[in-house]
Amino acid sequence: MKRFFAIALGVLTAIGGFVDIGDIVANGEAGARFGITHAWVLLLGVFGICAYAEMSGRVSAVSGRPVFDLVRERLGPRVALANLTGSLLVTVLTLGAELGGVGLALQLATSVNYLLWVPVVAFVLWAALWRAKFTVLENVFGLTGLVLIVFVIAFFRLHADTGGLWHQATHPGPPHGEDWGTYWFFAVALFASALTPYEVFFFSSGAVEERWNSRDLITSRVNVFVGFPLGGLLAFAIMLTSATVFHPLSTSVDSLSQVALPAALALGKLGLAAAILGFFAATFGAAMETGLSAGYTVAQYFGWNWGKLRRPREAARFHTVVLVSIVVGVAVLLTTIDPIQLTEYTLVFSAVALPLTYLPILVIANDRDYLGDRVNGRFANALGMIYLLIVAIAAVAAIPLMIVTRMGGG
């Protein structure tokens, strides 16, 4: 059982990346509009995040240094500040969106408007980050989020046209009625959501919170190679069920209730309940991940005390940043902006933050002063280089695609 809980950090990190509120709906929408022609993007994303999360976990376990420490150390205060600004905007906007997402999940269960839930959710989140143990948080929300597995079961119960789906997966491109611009917009959005900057911040800081050292390298690797593929699988299952139910009806998906329908169709009320519970845990987990990440990045940039392993009064600046981030997130939501759309705007800021986060990780993962003989091998370096290039290209392509396709609206 203890072994089972040991992968909670990886699972929670992956859930925050792959199945946060924006991605739940984006995967549903992609499946409904494009079938599973975007399956390759998820696969590409899983490999990329595995490569970089493994490097950052290894660096943190061996040297005790979390990622944002290294960003400033290698890139200097100015470039790191640009990264910090971009990352914080991504993280805090996502945090706001997740608070709304938890509200939306509760709305599905209670039919009470999500905005009424937001202040309650925000308070519970803050209280959890203030008082609960790190391991309790990651175990509860990481593992409850796995209830989304219900979409995998639902897929098998739906008796889908597997031949048609296989054809879609192996023939990337827009189906009739959609254009290439929108197709690539979704590709970039899904790819960027797999490789968000806050995932590596959270994972490496979590490694420090859990006091991993060089003996825990195996734990770190198991976390990475089980957690992220699992997150990718959940995202893929949502895309699959949506492609099975909505694509043949040529019906697009833009709300959380639609994403839950295939689970109800296949498994009835029990399936629906599991889907809603999964949405709740995944979005709450993502809210925790982004809330803590905001504190981690700022504190690590300035060299402050940080972390849940200290008493709040011994990390006053860290806890203040977390508190302020939650308040800002709530304020953004209460402008009644659509939380699902909110995560799409973060694409722009990810474009700035991602290359500036991955470059120092890759450099330090090759530094023998830090890692001794545990530096990157050829394979990790090849993957790291390829993904650095892909991320740079996606960063350049994201903004024009957003404007041309009006955020995928066509």
């Binding site: 599905l108 039919s111 697009s252 709300s255 329908l261 169709l265 009320k269």
Partner: protein
Amino acid sequence: MESPTSTTSRIVIAAVAVAALWAGLAYDVSRPADARRYQRTLVQAAESAHDAAQTAALVGELELAGKVTGLFATAAFDDAAKGLAGAEQKSASQGPPDSASAARRDELGPLLNAAVTALGDTTEADDDNRLRDGVGRLKDVAARLDDFAEGMR
């Protein structure tokens, strides 16, 4: 370090670029709709109305089969109503630039109305027969909206 003049000129160039972009955007948003743009808007409105009606029909069917909770159905019908309201707003956001476009709009209007009433009746249905009737009408109007959108593409 760079000289102050080069910094100033760089700031001026950046400011001019931003102003030009902004002006272009303002022009793009405010220019009068040409027929193609207007008809594209109509297609989008028809498509989102179709999505909402189709989804609501599906939810109604699941409710009949006892596969969803009442509270979930309420929330899902709410989302569909929001989608329909968005479609209506979209179709009314611009005036038609020519008579052909106006004819198209007059074709879409009744379809949207039919969708709204069908959704309202389905949401309010208190027995299975009325629910079944609402689902049938939603499916029917979804099909007609689909035809409308296909016909204009």
